[in-house]
């Protein structure tokens, strides 16, 4: 018995070693995951925990955008639509109909996928930059709708949720936030793995072929419409998840935030920063975006105070520096930071293997 367990453990370890420890990019991802797993153990400030949690939510959102754009090539600038619908629907059902969250969140996600399919039909006629700009309109129109229908949807502040509608309605603050953090981290992992599997499955390859050459894929007998709608639906499904989590985490659904232009821009920025078409790229991008923001806030605000002429202008300068750094990143690594790192690591391993072979 003990021998069997031992053999099993050894086999798990050896597969872990060959699959993860020996592949530098995967090792890096594994280390990042470990950092994220043990982050709350360090008894962080609640503020930082909140920032990291929101970054996790936006990582899900950005990864879902990447499937739609990086794989299917449907450049959407209105992904906030699904974020907002998810947020509003889940908040509405739980607040006014008393449904538990384990029911409202999947329901909202399915509803988002349905909306994506319904919108996909007219949208598919539209191509290229027209698609980009027309998708941008949908969340802005819907935001006005929610804003105008005040009695159920709460106008400017959105639907206000109570503590009972949080993901974990516990009494003590810190354990509650930590529990929420782990749940959201778990959901990010699950959705990232599902999205990655889809992106690299047969479906994903078909989607890339449509991106590369639509007429050629059509000529090969691929039902282009079906695959495009599928990409829309899957992407909206996970974007809806991010929206639900966001609404229950911040306990509100302000329409100018959940359906705003900025929310539509976030996944684009994160994906371009991290690396498009990779699924892990946007997640890396989300962390870079958020940690850089906090870093500049933390370092530069104090720093600028000691410089006489700009002491009062610290806040604006900080944002300028922050955006400047991101733009420099994008210009320096136009394929995305994660792709760059992976390529560099691959080069290094190849070099090492070559050296070893030469020695022999």
């Amino acid at each position: 018995m003990i021998k069997m367990v031992g053999a099993l453990l050894r086999r798990i370890y050896s597969s872990f070693a060959t699959n993860i420890l020996d592949v530098p990019p995967r090792l890096l991802a594994f280390l990042l995951l470990m950092v994220l797993l043990f982050l709350p153990v360090a008894r962080l400030d609640l503020y930082i925990l909140r920032i990291v949690t929101i970054a996790l939510i936006f990582a899900i959102f950005a990864a879902s955008w990447d499937l739609l754009v990086g794989r299917a090539g449907q450049v959407s600038l209105g992904h906030a639509l699904f974020f907002g619908i998810g947020a509003y629907l889940s908040a509405y059902l739980s607040r006014f109909h008393g449904l538990p969250l384990w029911a409202t969140i999947p329901l909202s996600m399915l509803f988002c996928a349905l909306v994506a399919v319904l919108l996909g039909f007219p949208c598919l006629r539209v191509k290229g930059p027209y698609l980009t700009l027309v998708t941008m309109a949908f969340p802005l129109i819907l935001a006005v709708g929610f804003f105008a229908l005040d009695p159920p949807f709460g106008g400017e502040g959105g639907i206000a949720l109570t503590r009972a509608q949080r993901l974990f309605p516990m009494e003590a603050l810190y354990p509650q936030r930590v529990a929420e953090y782990y749940l959201i981290l778990f959901l990010l992992l699950v959705s990232a793995i599902i999205l990655y599997k889809i992106a690299n499955s047969k479906t994903g390859i078909v989607l890339v072929s449509i991106l590369d050459d639509e007429s050629a894929s059509k000529a090969c007998g691929i039902n282009v419409t079906k695959y495009k709608l599928l990409a829309w639906a899957i992407s909206a499904f996970f974007a809806g998840l991010a929206g639900c989590l966001y609404a229950h985490y911040i306990q509100a659904t302000p329409p100018t935030t959940v359906l705003g232009l900025t929310t539509s821009f976030y996944p684009v920025i994160m994906t371009i920063l991290g690396g498009i078409g990779t699924i892990y790229g946007p997640i890396v991008g989300a962390f870079i975006l958020w940690s850089l923001m906090e870093f500049t806030l933390w370092v530069l605000t104090d720093f600028f105070q000691f410089i006489p002429f700009i002491a009062n202008a610290g806040d604006e300068l900080r944002i300028i520096v922050y955006i400047g750094i991101i733009i420099v990143f994008i210009i320096k690594w136009p394929k995305g930071i994660s792709k760059f790192v992976v390529e560099k690591l691959d080069e290094l391993t190849e070099k090492r293997e070559l050296d070893e072979r030469k020695k022999k």
Binding site: V69, V75, L77, P122, R125, V126, K127, G128, P129, Y130, T132, L133, V134, M136, A137, F138, L140, I141, V144, G145, F147, A148, D213, E214, S215, L261, F265, V268, I269, I272, L273, I276, A313, E316, L317, I319, I320, I323, G324, I326, I327, I330, I331, P334
Partner: protein, 298 residues
């Protein structure tokens, strides 16, 4: 009520055409979806008022139209230069990659917005009218400023149209719009051409900002999303890259906006949504807008 709709719809439509023209121009020539277009609009209005202030203009003690004109020209040139700088620093290294250009121009917008905050603080500036007083038209009070805006906008659009159709640089622009690489092979310096196009595009947005702000008062200032979204709607309705199209689109959007203002008084927040809804409807019926250039299915 109907007179209201006809007159004011046309007046705002003309200036919108100017705004959208810049957007469609840089897309048509360089394939750049310029998210910083709203920022140029905003910067134009701000630069105009700051130049006026420094030139010693005062609407009561020193209302000199010479100063107004000088400030208008200075602000336009200034924003044109900002456009060149943004093109050179941010857009040019990424010109082959439209999505990155999109992101970088969003970044440029945010930087410009913060710079305006740095420069002016968190206050709304009053943008003075170019002409005081009003006349009666169909029994409506129409400000001279609005009439001048109409004339100026249509005049500029006509000049630009002739420039693109007749001049050598205009020909180069049309060539680059058709095929960038062939244009380069024919000896056109596309980099300089794109820079010039960006400058013209930014200047047009700045003039629109200067003309459109006084009647709408200050809440639209510091707000770059509204003009940006309006340019999108107009350009999409008319067809990307088409001057005729953006003219048609601008008047449609101008009338829609005015209709909302007339039929739903006190619900100003519906204006943008109504314009966007019209855009979506047009796009469902005509996927490339009214005059869009034909996108090859490759």
């Amino acid at each position: 009520m109907i007179e209201n709709l006809i007159v004011f719809g046309a007046l705002s439509g003309a200036v919108y055409a100017l705004l959208a023209l810049g957007f469609t121009l840089i897309y048509g020539v360089a394939d750049v979806i310029n998210m910083a277009h709203g920022a140029f609009y905003m910067l134009g209005a701000y630069a105009f008022s700051i130049f006026l202030m420094n030139l010693g203009y005062n609407s009561i003690t020193n209302p000199s139209s010479f100063l107004l004109l000088t400030a208008l020209i200075l602000a336009t040139i200034f924003v044109g230069f900002v456009g060149i700088i943004i093109y050179r620093l941010f857009v040019h290294p990424l010109i082959e990659n439209p999505l990155s250009v999109l992101v970088v121009t969003i970044g440029a917008t945010l930087i410009l917005q913060q710079m305006i905050l740095l420069w002016f603080g968190d206050v709304d500036m009053a943008v003075p009218k170019l002409l005081e007083g009003y006349t009666l038209l169909l029994g409506l009070k129409v400000a001279y400023h609005s009439l001048l805006s109409l004339v100026l906008s249509l005049g500029l659009i006509a000049i630009l149209g002739i420039f693109i159709a007749r001049s050598k640089i205009g020909g180069a622009m049309r060539a680059a719009a058709q095929d960038r690489e062939v244009a380069m092979l024919m000896g056109i310096n596309t980099e300089r051409l794109y820079m010039l196009t960006m400058a013209i595009s930014a200047s047009l947005a700045a003039i629109a900002g200067i003309l459109l702000n006084p009647p709408a008062a200050s809440p639209m200032l510091r707000e770059w999303t509204y003009p940006l979204v309006m340019s999108f709607a107009i350009v999409i309705i008319g067809g990307l890259g088409s001057i005729k199209g953006s003219l048609v689109g601008a008047f449609i959007i101008g009338y829609v906006e005015q209709a909302v203002r007339v039929f739903f008084p006190g619900m100003g927040y519906l204006q943008g949504a109504a314009a966007l809804t019209v855009m979506v409807l047009v796009l469902v019926l005509r996927p490339r807008g009214f005059f869009g250039k034909h996108v090859e299915a490759e």
